[in-house]
C-alpha cells in the first residue's frame, strides 16, 4: 500500500453490538461482536482477517459489505459510504462489492438453477437480460472452471467444490472491484481447498480484484494475503504485512496463535513442540475492563493490563499492535 494513495476500502471505528433477550421479562444482554475496529485496504491488495470462533470476524465482514448495519462507525468503499445506503445506493454499492460465502450447501438457493442464480444480479441491477445475460453467465462459469452445461442444473447436482465455484461465479458476474470472502475454503476437503484458493488467486490477477479474506486457518491466510489483521474478542490486536506478522509477531495473542499451529513436516513439528513445551492451559474469563486478552496473556503481569485497554498503535517493527508491552 503506497501511503499517498487513499485506500479502496476504509473502515473507521466500527462497532457492532447484538442485543439478545430483551423480550418480556427476559434480561437484556449486549454482545460486542465488533468493538471499535479501523483499518484500510488498498486497491489490488488481499487483506487476511484471522481470529478464533466468536472473535467477530464474520460479523465485521458482513458490516463491511453492508449486509449488517454498524452500531456506530463508518465504512467507505471508493469514497462511497456503506452504512446509510438504501435502495438505489445499495444496488450501486453491490455492483462494486460482492461476497463469497462459507457454506457451499447453504449459499445456493436449492430451488433455482445455476442460470437463475447467476441471472439474478444481472436482472436486479439492470445489467443484462436474455441472450446477453446468458452470454455473461457462460463467461463467468468459464472463468470459474465450470462448463456452460452447468447452467440448466440445480445445486444439488454438484459437489461441494463445484458449488463453491458457482458461488464465486455469482459474486464475479457483476464485475466487482472488491470481494469479501468469508471462510471460502473451510468447508472443503484439503485437495479441493487448493483448487479454490488457486481459482481465487487467478481471478484476482485476471480481474484486478481486491480481497478481504476472512479465515481461521492461519496457513491459508499466510498463503493468500499481502497483509494480515488478527482479531480477538471484537478487537483488532495486530496488523502487519503477512511476511512480518508470521516472522515476528508482536502481540502476545498472535504469538500464542502461531505457536499453537502444528506443522505437517514431522521434523518442523518436533521443533515447534520443543519450543512450546511449557505451553500453559489458559482459563479464559470475561474481563470487565482492561486488555481483552489479559486473562490469558502470559505477559500480563502489570496492573495496567487489567485496567486499561491498549489502543491499536504503530510499533517500531512496522506492525500496528494493541498491546501495552508488545514484542
Amino acid at each position: 500500500m503506497t501511503a499517498a494513495e487513499a485506500p479502496l476500502v476504509s473502515v473507521t471505528a466500527i462497532r457492532r453490538h447484538f442485543v439478545s433477550g430483551g423480550g418480556l421479562l427476559a434480561r437484556r444482554k449486549v454482545t460486542r461482536a465488533v468493538d471499535d475496529v479501523s483499518f484500510g485496504i488498498a486497491a489490488g491488495e488481499t487483506l487476511g482477517l484471522v481470529g478464533e470462533s466468536g472473535s467477530g470476524k464474520s460479523t465485521l465482514g458482513r458490516v463491511i459489505v453492508g449486509l449488517l448495519a454498524a452500531t456506530s462507525g463508518q465504512v467507505a468503499i471508493a469514497g462511497q459510504a456503506v452504512g446509510g445506503a438504501r435502495g438505489g445506493a445499495r444496488r450501486a454499492l453491490w455492483r462494486r462489492v460482492q461476497m463469497v460465502f462459507q457454506d457451499p450447501y447453504s449459499s445456493l438457493n436449492p430451488r433455482l438453477t445455476v442460470r437463475d442464480t447467476l441471472a439474478e444480479p444481472l436482472r436486479n441491477f439492470g445489467i443484462a437480460r436474455g441472450a446477453d445475460a446468458d452470454r455473461r453467465i457462460r463467461e463467468a462459469l468459464d472463468a470459474c472452471g465450470l462448463p456452460a452445461s452447468a447452467m440448466t442444473r440445480h445445486p444439488r447436482e454438484f459437489s461441494g467444490g463445484q458449488r463453491q465455484r458457482i458461488g464465486i461465479a455469482r459474486a464475479l458476474i457483476v464485475r466487482p472491484d472488491f470481494i469479501v470472502a468469508d471462510e471460502p475454503v473451510s468447508a472443503l476437503d484439503v485437495s479441493i481447498q487448493a483448487q479454490i484458493i488457486n481459482l481465487l488467486q487467478d481471478l484476482k490477477a485476471a480481474f484486478g480484484l481486491t480481497y478481504l479474506f476472512i479465515a481461521h486457518d492461519l496457513a491459508v491466510v499466510r498463503h493468500v494475503s499481502d497483509r494480515v489483521a488478527v482479531m480477538y474478542r471484537g478487537k483488532l490486536v495486530e496488523t502487519a504485512s503477512a511476511e512480518m506478522l508470521y516472522a515476528r509477531p508482536a502481540h502476545p495473542y498472535t504469538q500464542l496463535l502461531l505457536r499453537s499451529v502444528p506443522m505437517p513436516d514431522p521434523r518442523a513439528e518436533a521443533e515447534r513442540r520443543k519450543r512450546t513445551a511449557a505451553s500453559e492451559i489458559a482459563h479464559p474469563q470475561a474481563t470487565a475492563g482492561g486488555c481483552p486478552f489479559h486473562a490469558r496473556c502470559p505477559k500480563a503481569r502489570f496492573p495496567l493490563c487489567g485496567e486499561q485497554a491498549p489502543p491499536l498503535a504503530a510499533h517500531a517493527s512496522g506492525h500496528r499492535v494493541a498491546c501495552h508491552f508488545p514484542g
Binding site: 478464533e52 484439503v190 483448487q195 499453537s260 499451529v261 506443522m263 513436516d265 521434523r267 482459563h283
Partner: protein, 331 residues
C-alpha cells in the same frame, strides 16, 4: 516383539442397496496397532477412515455390512455376542468423537455422564461417593479447574474446549488399552487443539494407552503419531512411519495431498491442486481408485488395482509406480 493389540485384516464395510450392487465404502483394509502405539489414519471425507474406526467397536449404522477380521488381543470382534462387545466398549476400547457440542446428552449433568461410563464397567460396585471422587479426579486430570463443582454442570454450561476435555476424561475413565479418537480436534480453535493434542500425548506417555487417531489434518498426525495410514476411496494406499511418509511419500496421492496444503512456515507459492473429485463409491471404478486424478497414471493403472505391498522397512504402498522418495522430497 510383542503381539499386536489390534489386528485388522481385509476389513470391508458396505451398504446394500435394492436392485443395485451394494455401495462399498471400506475394502481390503489391513493394519496392526501395537500396545502403547499412536497410529494416525488420514484421509478426506469419503475415504472410509471413520467407518474403519467405528467398525472396531461395531458402532456402524444399522444397514452396514461388515466383513473381514478384527482381532483385539486375539479375540474376533465380529464374532462377539452383544454382551461381550458391550463389556469391551468404554472399558478396553473407548472412543472420542468429533463434535464436543453434540457428544454429551444435553439434559444430563457432565459428572453423571462420566460416572455412567465408570459404573457400567464397575465390578467392584463402588458407592456414589467413591464414584463422585473418581469423576472429580478424572476432570482434574484433563485440566478442568474446580472439578467437583464443574461435575454438577450441564453440557451447555461448558465451552467447546472444556467439553472435548470432559469427553476425553470420559473415554479414559476405565484406563482403556486403546483409545479411538475420531477427528477429536476438528471442531476446536487452534489454541484449544494444541492443548487437546498435548493431553492425548500425556495420556499415552503416562498410562501407555494406544491411540488410533482419525483426522483429515496432516499436521495433527505429524504432531502426535509415530505411524500414519493414508486412506483414499475406502483403501489404505500408504502405511508407514510418519517421518518417512510425510517427508518422502511414495504414493502419488500422499504426495499430491502434501503439495496441496498451504504451509505456515513458508511464504505462498502456487499450490499444486489435485484435479477432479474423489470417486463416487456408488459407481464402480476399475483399477487404482486414484488413477483418474493421478498425473503419472499408465494404462495398467486403469485396468488392475495394485496391492498394498512393502516398499521399505515397515512401509507399504498401493501403487504400480511408487514414487522415488528422495526425488519427490526434492521437488
Amino acid at each position: 516383539m510383542s503381539a499386536p493389540l489390534l489386528s485388522i485384516r481385509e476389513l470391508g464395510v458396505s451398504f446394500p442397496r435394492k436392485e443395485a450392487p451394494s455401495t462399498t465404502v471400506v475394502e481390503g483394509v489391513s493394519f496392526d496397532i501395537m500396545p502403547g502405539e499412536i497410529v494416525g489414519i488420514v484421509g478426506e471425507s469419503g475415504s472410509g477412515k471413520s467407518m474403519t474406526a467405528r467398525s472396531v467397536l461395531r458402532l456402524l449404522p444399522k444397514s452396514a455390512e461388515l466383513s473381514g477380521s478384527i482381532r483385539f488381543r486375539g479375540r474376533e470382534i465380529p464374532e462377539m455376542t452383544d454382551e461381550e462387545i458391550r463389556d469391551m466398549r468404554g472399558a478396553l476400547v473407548s472412543m472420542v468423537f468429533q463434535d464436543p457440542m453434540t457428544s454429551f446428552n444435553p439434559v444430563l449433568r457432565i459428572g453423571d455422564q462420566i460416572g455412567e461410563a465408570i459404573a457400567l464397567h464397575d465390578r467392584a460396585r463402588r458407592g456414589r461417593r467413591a464414584l463422585r471422587d473418581r469423576v472429580a479426579k478424572l476432570l482434574a486430570l484433563v485440566g478442568i479447574a474446580d472439578p467437583a463443582e464443574r461435575a454438577r454442570s450441564y453440557p451447555h454450561e461448558f465451552s467447546g474446549g472444556m467439553r472435548q476435555r470432559a469427553l476425553t476424561a470420559m473415554a479414559v475413565a476405565n484406563s482403556p488399552a486403546l483409545l479411538i479418537a475420531d477427528e477429536p480436534t476438528t471442531a476446536l480453535d487452534v489454541t484449544v487443539q494444541d492443548q487437546v493434542l498435548s493431553l492425548l500425548r500425556e495420556l499415552n506417555e503416562n498410562s501407555g494407552t494406544a491411540i488410533l487417531l482419525i483426522t483429515h489434518n496432516i499436521a495433527v498426525v505429524a504432531s502426535l503419531c509415530r505411524r500414519v495410514i493414508v486412506m483414499y476411496a475406502g483403501r489404505v494406499i500408504e502405511d508407514g512411519p510418519t517421518d518417512e511418509v510425510l517427508t518422502a511419500p511414495r504414493h502419488p496421492y500422499t504426495w499430491s495431498l502434501l503439495q496441496s496444503v498451504p504451509r505456515i512456515d513458508q511464504a505462498g507459492t502456487r499450490l499444486t491442486a489435485i484435479k477432479g473429485q474423489p470417486p463416487d463409491p456408488a459407481t464402480p471404478l476399475a483399477g487404482c481408485k486414484f488413477h483418474p486424478r493421478c498425473p503419472w497414471a499408465e494404462q495398467r493403472c486403469g485396468e488392475q488395482e495394485p496391492a498394498l505391498s512393502p516398499i521399505g522397512e515397515a512401509h507399504g504402498v498401493r501403487c504400480w509406480l511408487p514414487m522415488n522418495g528422495i526425488a519427490a522430497a526434492a521437488q
